[in-house]
């Protein structure tokens, strides 16, 4: 299959800090891929290198079959994490400027821009200055600037950060639309839930190194943590009685809820039957691991307990912040 992006052994340092350490990445054409990892993992650096905004110290990058994104710039749409606009410029002038820089023909450009503005309910702001627009409206203008030239490859750096729920839904629709049109989408996020909802495939990076590169269902299968969530309806059986069950290996209390880790070889169905017998449950379910769990599981091995806790807080906290509805 054709590759939209191929990175081989990409290394990038800033002074003494190693931002990327031999990153390998292959994104097939037409796919929606997520680049995930905590803040400072190297996601933005990786995307900037793909865009040829930064240049690697070592390694090779191939984008849309070209040796560098420089040769395919007009076929790429890029939404940086720090999304800026010319505040003094009129919306239409700004989109025109970016459109022309992206290689769009001047002929019919205004009509296209009008169409896009209508599409995102900004039909009446074309003549307004960007600084007169609300933040949400500016974000919509930024989306248009990213996709108006119908790129073959969309690179979105933390696209959902700072979006209000309405714009989050709009952006998701735009991404789906571009995907349906055949565009390849690569986006980065530190909010695992978004990656789970949008991506077919995720690449996890941590401290500049790739730690996981697989499809979402495969990751779920591999990292099935075999945990049962249990919340008693009336009387709490207590930790001792739960731990005494033969199919339960480890017990952890989480507020009203118990997290019960199954012993090696134990059948979840047996364990659930035993729990119902012990005390009728208000809630009883096999917990499916989230990407967040998987991520902490993988990268946690290289971190101290304190660092693991901080990482979990960051990913969980961010997940709450970034939840769209």
């Amino acid at each position: 299959m054709e590759r939209a992006i191929r990175m081989r052994g990409v290394r990038k340092t800033f002074g003494s800090k190693v931002a990327l350490d031999g990153l390998e990445l292959e994104v097939p054409q037409g796919a929606v891929w997520g680049l995930i990892g905590p803040n400072g993992a190297g996601k933005t650096t990786a995307l900037r290198i793909v865009m040829a905004i930064l240049f690697p110290d070592d390694g090779e990058v191939e984008v849309l079959g070209r040796a560098s994104a420089l040769e395919a710039r007009d076929r790429i749409g890029y939404l940086p994490e720090e999304r800026g606009v010319y505040r003094k410029l009129k919306v239409r002038t700004f989109l025109r400027h970016i459109g022309i820089l992206k290689g769009m023909s001047r002929r019919g450009l205004d009509e296209k821009i009008e169409g896009w503005l209508e599409r995102v309910d900004l039909g009446d702001v074309g003549r307004k200055k960007l600084e007169e627009l609300s933040k949400g409206m500016q974000q919509k203008v930024q989306f248009i600037a990213t996709v108006q030239h119908e790129p073959d490859l969309l690179i979105l750096d933390e696209p959902f950060s700072g979006l209000d729920p309405v714009n989050m839904r709009l952006l998701r629709e735009l991404i789906d639309e571009q995907h349906a049109r055949g565009a390849t989408v690569l986006f980065s996020t530190h909010v695992m839930q978004q990656a789970e909802e949008l991506c077919e495939h995720v690449v996890m990076i941590d401290e500049g190194r790739k730690v996981l590169d697989d499809s979402v269902p495969e990751i779920r299968r591999q990292f099935d943590l075999r945990t049962i969530l249990y919340e008693p309806m009336h009387d709490d059986p207590g930790e001792a009685r739960l731990a005494a069950l033969p199919m339960i290996q480890r017990v952890r209390r989480h507020q009203e809820r118990w997290e019960l880790h199954l012993a090696e070889g134990a059948d979840p169905a047996d364990a659930m039957r035993a729990l119902v017998d012990l005390a009728p449950p208000a809630l009883l379910e096999v917990h499916r691991p989230s990407l967040e769990d998987v991520f902490v599981e993988i990268v946690g091995q290289r971190r101290s307990a304190e660092e693991r806790e901080r990482l979990r807080r960051e990913l969980a906290g961010a997940a709450v912040d970034g939840r769209d509805s």
Binding site: L54, R73, I100
Partner: protein
Amino acid sequence: MNPRKVLQVASREFLSTAATKAFVFGVLILPAMMSVLIFVLPRVMTATPPAVRGRVLVIDPTGRLVPSLAEALSPEAFIERSRELKEKIRKATEDRLPAPLIDQAERQGAFEQALGTVPQLVVEPLPPGEDVEHAKRALREKEDDEPRVLAVVQIDPDAVEPAGDGTYGAYALFLRKGVDDRITEQIERAVRDAIVDERVAGRGLDADELRVLMRVRGARTVTITETGERETNEILKAMLPMAFFMLLWIPVITGGQYLMTTTIEEKSSRVVEVLLSAVSSLELMTGKILGQMAVGLLLLAIYGGLGVAGLAAFAMLGLVDLSLLFYLAVFFVITYFVIAALMGAIGAAVTDLREAQALLGPVMIVLMIPLMLWFWIMREPDSMFAVVASFIPPVNMFVMMLRMTSSAPPPTWQVWLSILVGVLAVFGALWAAAKVFRIGLLLHGKPPTFRTLIRWIRMA
């Protein structure tokens, strides 16, 4: 490099700078202020001439001066002197200023302004023995009924005939507070003339004849060039180097400053990363520099055009060697590229204007050198300092411009060597700036020092 994209960046840069109210205002304010100074201000000032009426008390122990003083301070004498002076100014300036300019000045009442309006003064002799203190009291009194006493003149007894030791006496003039200085001058002059005339007459000579003998008309100055003779206009000739210097300086600095500001804006508003996804840092820099060069050229065209039009209007184009305009354009392009590369690099390296000031300081000091030393360069265009400075970028073109417009232009080989040095400096500066652009645009945080910038240049 994609020329279409570079042009788009350039046109955006030009429009976002030149198509703003601030720019139009800023560009027009300079010529506007100058025309206010030259044309409007004198009119406003002459619009309200002081209407002077008053008495001049004279204590004259010699008893010979009052008639001639009264005559000299009479309104008729004022009008006559004004007419004579006007003629004299016309004669004197004819050689130096073109006739249309004099006519214009006359129309605008510049001469009346220089002379003041005709005062109505009455000379009143006091008895020779009058106590001067008593007379002075009249100057302090608030007399509501006109005419007031404006001045008291006390002539020394030996002002006309020398005392025993052969020295002449003088006079004392006491004035009311707030008397117009032009009136004071007229009174002083009248008294002085009256005394001198009496002294001359005492020797049996004719004062008018003596005055004619002592006058030499203004000489005509002509510069002999290889191609012929050229009327030398001293006043405009002295202004020419400054005019050319400013024509070079203002557009270069303005363009450079705008380039720095827009770069900082794009960087701090984070729009630069969007731009860099569409154009390379080199394309962006080239486009921005070209765009601001168009702004500088527009300024040069406006100010230079005004200057040339002004000279043409007064038929004085011959005063300017037209090849100077060609060199001005060449010098502008060279100097602009060097300064713009420097300022653009500074803009790309910092996050806000405040940080830029720290880096800009040394650059501005270097650029101020020709401005501060222009007088010395003008006086000695062939001095060691001037010659050496005309080969050191980024000031070489400024210094060369001054030397070329001076009284002793440098040899042509020096001009072209300086241009060559300038062109090399352009390439060097653009090369270095491109590296700083490439690294600096995406960096935020601690502002870099000059040492960091040099490290970037060597590293990238």
